[in-house]
Structure formats: C-alpha cells, structure tokens
C-alpha cells in the first residue's frame, strides 16, 4: 500500500513557516474534525489496549488496575516457555497456518485463472457470484454446514464413502482429519473471495503479450506460465505478506467453531488458548503474555517478509 505520499508544507521549521502552517491548518480545521472520531476510537480501542498489554509483565489484579498492579518482570513468559501446553498450542498454530499456506493459498490463484479464461460473460459473472458467496457466511454457519456434510450418520461424505464400503468417519472429532477439515473449510469460505484481487491483477496484464505469444504458437498453459503468473507476481507477494502478518492470529473464530476437547491436542491454537485461559480461567496476565508473544511474532514475520520482498525488487507493504 502506497502511503509515502504525505507532503509537508513549505518552510518547515522557520518561524514564518510555523505561522503559515498554523494558518493553513486553521483553514482546514474541518479536516481535523473529520479525522477526530476515527482517531479517538483508534486510540481508545487499539492503543490503550496496547498499553494495557503491560499486564503481561505484572500480576494483574482487578482492584489495582493496570497501573497499580505489581510488576513481576518476565515471570509469565518464563511460565509460558516452560509449559508443555504452550508448545503444543504454538506448534498447532504454526502447522495449521503452514498447511493453509501450502494447500489453500494456491486455490484462489487457480480459480482466478479459470474464471479469467471463461469467454461467456453470463457464465463468468455467475461463477464469480457463486464463488464469492461462501465468504458471506459466518464461521458459525460454515461449521454447521461442515458438521452436516461430514456427519457420521447422514452426511453426504460418509454416505458416499459408504458406497465404497468405507465405515463412517467422525471427521470433526478425529485427530487425524481435524486439520484437514480446517484447511478445507477455510478454502471453501475464502477461495472465491480471495480470487477477486488476482482477477483484478490479471486484467491489468497487457493483452499484447498474449497476442505475441499466440503468434509464436504458445499453448494456453505456456501463456499462463510465462505471461499471466509473472504478471501478477507482485500481487501474490503482497497477499503472502498480508497473510503472514495475520498468520498466528486469524484462526480464532474458525477453530472455536470447529474444535472440541477430543481434538484439542491437534486443534488448539494460540487464539483459542488465550480465550480459554484468559476469560475462562481469568488468568489475565498469563494469557496476555501469550497474546503478546503472538502479536510480536506476527509483527516480526511481516517486517521480515517486507524486507525480503523489497530485496527482490517488489513493492513492500510500506
């Protein structure tokens, strides 16, 4: 995202410059009024909680508040790194996101390529509308749909498996299948929606390149491989970066809907863990420490991805 376009006024720093700046700001006071409500909400609900995250270094006590509670340094982080549960949760989070990156990430790109090749305008629009649709279903609904499809007694999937003489599988509560269910439901909900950005990028590719390639006798697959994919490379990199930033934080609601104590060992992720021990067991400080760990790792991942992509000549996030 390009946000380097901010230009400061002329004559920075000098006395007359300041006076001029003040005058200009006064002339545009309405702009600051417009900005104010959003800024206020941002500070109260995003920045005050960042300050409140200090309780990760304290023993938070309701009566004393954030300021008054006693400092305990890194105690909660030590507890966390010594807890086996934390490692299992962290590894689950990493694995689930890795699987999503490997198996789910390419689907919207392929879908965009497929939709792009459709010549019939009506069919094209129809397939777009239908594939975007699941994005508008809540995770509660998607989990209900999957529970219905995968039901061991009357779900379609097990009915079909039954035809081949396979015994019903409890997909939702079987450790072997749980992560696959997460990846598939995520692919079901987001693929169409994510394809929009790739479709937009594909349309921006110069049509002359295809003409030239066709002249040289390139097949469709070669055109896609040598023209389309390189043409949308920067968008792919951009999406990967955005994904990395949210990598450790984005499955809270999904997992909360899908998991059950039977699959905690493979499905419990940082978000759900924080929720359970924080609000369930009221361990405010400890769960904030887990949350902080999650946020910091997320930030580090984005910063690294940004640096790497700039190194390879791509536009970064900043």
């Amino acid at each position: 995202m390009n946000h380097k376009d901010a230009s400061m006024g002329p004559g920075k720093g000098t006395a007359s410059g300041w006076r001029k700046a003040g005058k200009e700001m006064w002339a545009d006071y309405q702009l600051y009024i417009m900005l104010l409500p959003a800024l206020a909400v941002l500070i109260i609900f995003k920045y005050v909680p960042i300050y409140g995250a200090l309780i990760a270094f304290k023993d938070y006590n309701l009566l004393d508040g954030v300021m008054g509670s006693k400092w305990v340094g890194l105690k909660h982080f030590q507890d966390l790194f010594q807890s086996e549960k934390f490692y299992s949760v962290f590894i689950n989070t990493l694995l689930i996101n890795l699987y999503k990156l490997v198996f789910q990430f390419p689907i919207p790109i392929i879908l965009a390529l497929m939709i792009n090749e459709v010549r019939n305008v009506m069919f094209k629009r129809f397939s777009q509308s239908v594939t975007y649709l699941p994005h508008f279903l809540s995770w509660v609904v998607v989990s209900a749909i999957f529970a219905n499809l995968l039901s061991p007694t009357d779900g379609i999937v097990n009915t079909v498996l039954g035809f081949f003489g396979i015994d019903p599988i409890m997909f939702m509560s079987d450790e072997r299948f749980f992560r696959s269910v997460l990846v598939m439901s995520s692919a079901f909900r987001e693929s169409g929606w994510s394809s929009i950005i790739y479709l937009a990028a594909i349309m921006a590719v110069d049509p002359q390149l295809y003409e030239a390639a066709r002249m040289d006798g390139a097949s469709k697959f070669r055109q896609i491989w040598h023209i389309t994919l390189p043409g949308i490379r920067s968008v792919i990199v951009f999406v990967i970066m955005l994904r990395l930033g949210a990598a450790l934080a984005n499955d809270l609601e999904q997992v909360l809907m899908f998991y059950s104590p039977m699959v905690y060992s493979v499905g419990d992720v940082l978000g759900t863990y924080v929720y359970r021990i924080g609000l369930g067991q009221m361990k405010y400080s400890f769960s904030t420490a887990v949350n902080l760990f999650q946020s910091v790792i997320g930030l580090i991942l984005v910063v690294i991805a940004n640096a790497v992509s700039k190194k390879f000549g791509e536009r970064g996030l900043w």
Partner: protein
C-alpha cells in the same frame, strides 16, 4: 478476433466443466442443508435427503420462527448491523477523506497510527478490560463501538478519494465550498461503488459477529443471532418451543438447517443488490494499491 485453434477449444471446454464443479462445491452444501430443513423427520433420519426435500414439511420453520429467542436475537443483530454499518461507514469516509488530502499536516503520523494498529494489537484481555472500564460490558454498543475503526477499509477509501482529480475540488473551493461541503457534494457521489463495498463489508461483519458477543455479553436478552445459532447447533433442544408435539415430530437436523437458513438468508438477500458495486469497488482498491 483470431480464430480459435482446436487446443484452445478443448482448453475452454475443460475449463468450463471444472468451473461447474467448483460452483457445485460452493452451492451443494447450502442446498443440502436447506433441503434437510424442508423435509420430514423420517427421511432426514434415514439420511435420504440430498438436494431435494422429501416429505415436504415446514415444521422446522414453525419451530424456529415461533421462538421468542430467535426474534429477540434477530432484533439485536439488526440493531448492531444497522447502527454499526452506518456509523462505521461514516467514520471511514471522514477519516479516509481527511487523510487523502495532501495538505493535511501530521498525515504521516496519523497513517502510521492506523497501519500499526492493523499489524499489532494489545490482545483480547487488555481490549476486554478497556471495554469493561468504559462500561460497555453487557450493552449492544460493545459490539459496535470498539470495531468502529477498520484501518484496511479506511486505506482503501483513502486511495479512492486520493485518485479523484484535484481539479474537482479546486473548482468547488473557488466557489467557496467548505471541506464538508466538498466531501458531501463531490467526493461521496463520485465514490458510491467504493462506499457500497465498504458498507457491505461492515454489514456482513456485524451480522456475523459472534466472538465479540461471546465475550462482552452475558445477558441472554442481548444475544445475537450467531450466538443463538451456535446454541442450536450444539444442542437443538435449547429452542424454546411452545408446542412439544411439533418438536417431537421434527428431526434436530431439520431444526438446525432451518435456523441456518433463517440466520443467513437476510444477509444473502442484500448481496445481489450490492454485488455489482463491490466487485468494482474491490478491484479498484486492489489494482491501485
């Protein structure tokens, strides 16, 4: 137009067939659940329902739509969706417009504040404590106010305003129009696709809100549709029913299906009206980033 080679024809044919497969995958689960909601108990229990209801029955809908809790949570969800979407869209337009003006001083600092908030957050508990401290706990506003700033949408809105030619604004300024007037008379009418997109995003988000309701509300009267639906999915008997006989003769599977349909249909009805806008809106945002 060039002539299609045989390879291309084959390619397009196979492509269309595969795409039809994708369409089926997207629609089939929804149709299946709707078919179950419209079928009578014996067929549902026997697992015979696939795409078409058998033994057509509206019992499940009678149960769901006859439930007071359904309508209470429907009202709550409607409330937060309407107010949330309106206020959120307004704030996004205001902030996006202000930050799109190059002459706005401190712009880099403000942008940093928004972007950093997108990448880093204090966490569930500190946010919960703020919401609690302000006294929003157990009010529907707890589901509206903390989410009023969505940096990502604000940035898209800002880009949209940014790309409107300066000359539009300058001529209005010469005529003595204020910033508010310029925004309402020129910028907003020119940005309707983008605004429609953003409000659809917000509406869907508020309609689907589950987690916030889960942590900020303990009062059952304030529960939202998604919380209600979740309870039905886990335990169909939590529907309050006046008619036990009706309940006895209806499969839980059907009640769940009917609730899913009743919760999802309203928001899906909005979608076709805004769809042509949002494809345009999202794409503009995407290409010009």
């Amino acid at each position: 137009m060039h002539l299609k080679s045989r390879g291309e024809t084959v390619f397009e044919g196979i492509n269309s067939i595969l795409l039809c497969g994708v369409i089926v995958i997207c629609l089939l689960p929804l149709i299946n659940i709707a078919a179950k909601s419209l079928s009578s108990e014996s067929y549902v229990l026997a697992g015979e329902i696939f795409l078409w209801p058998k033994g057509f029955s509206l019992n499940a809908y009678d149960i769901v739509l006859g439930s007071r809790r359904f309508w209470d949570s429907f009202g709550n969800t409607l409330f937060i969706t309407i107010f949330g979407t309106l206020i959120n869209t307004m704030l996004t337009i205001f902030a996006g417009y202000a930050l799109s003006r190059k002459r706005l001083r401190g712009q880099q600092l403000f942008m940093f504040l928004f972007i950093f908030a997108m990448l880093f957050n204090g966490g569930i508990i500190p946010t919960y404590l703020v919401v609690k401290g302000i006294g929003l706990l157990n009010t529907l506003w707890a589901l509206v106010i903390p989410g009023l700033v969505a940096p990502f949408q604000m940035i898209i809105m800002r880009l949209y305003f940014y790309n409107i030619p300066d000359s539009m604004e300058e001529s209005a300024k010469i005529d003595g129009a204020s910033n508010f007037r310029i925004l309402f008379r020129i910028m907003i009418p020119l940005s309707m696709p983008s605004i429609a997109t953003i409000s659809l995003f917000y509406a869907v988000e508020y309609w689907n809100s589950y987690f916030d309701a889960l942590i900020y509300l303990t009062n059952h009267e304030l529960f939202t549709l998604q919380i209600y639906l979740r309870e039905i999915i886990i335990n169909a008997s939590s529907v309050d029913i006046n008619n036990m006989e009706l309940m006895m003769n209806t499969a839980q599977e059907s009640v769940r299906g009917a609730t899913v349909v009743a919760v999802t249909l309203p928001i899906l009805l909005v979608y076709p009206f805004l769809q042509k806008h949002f494809v345009k809106g999202v794409m503009l945002g995407a290409v010009k980033q």
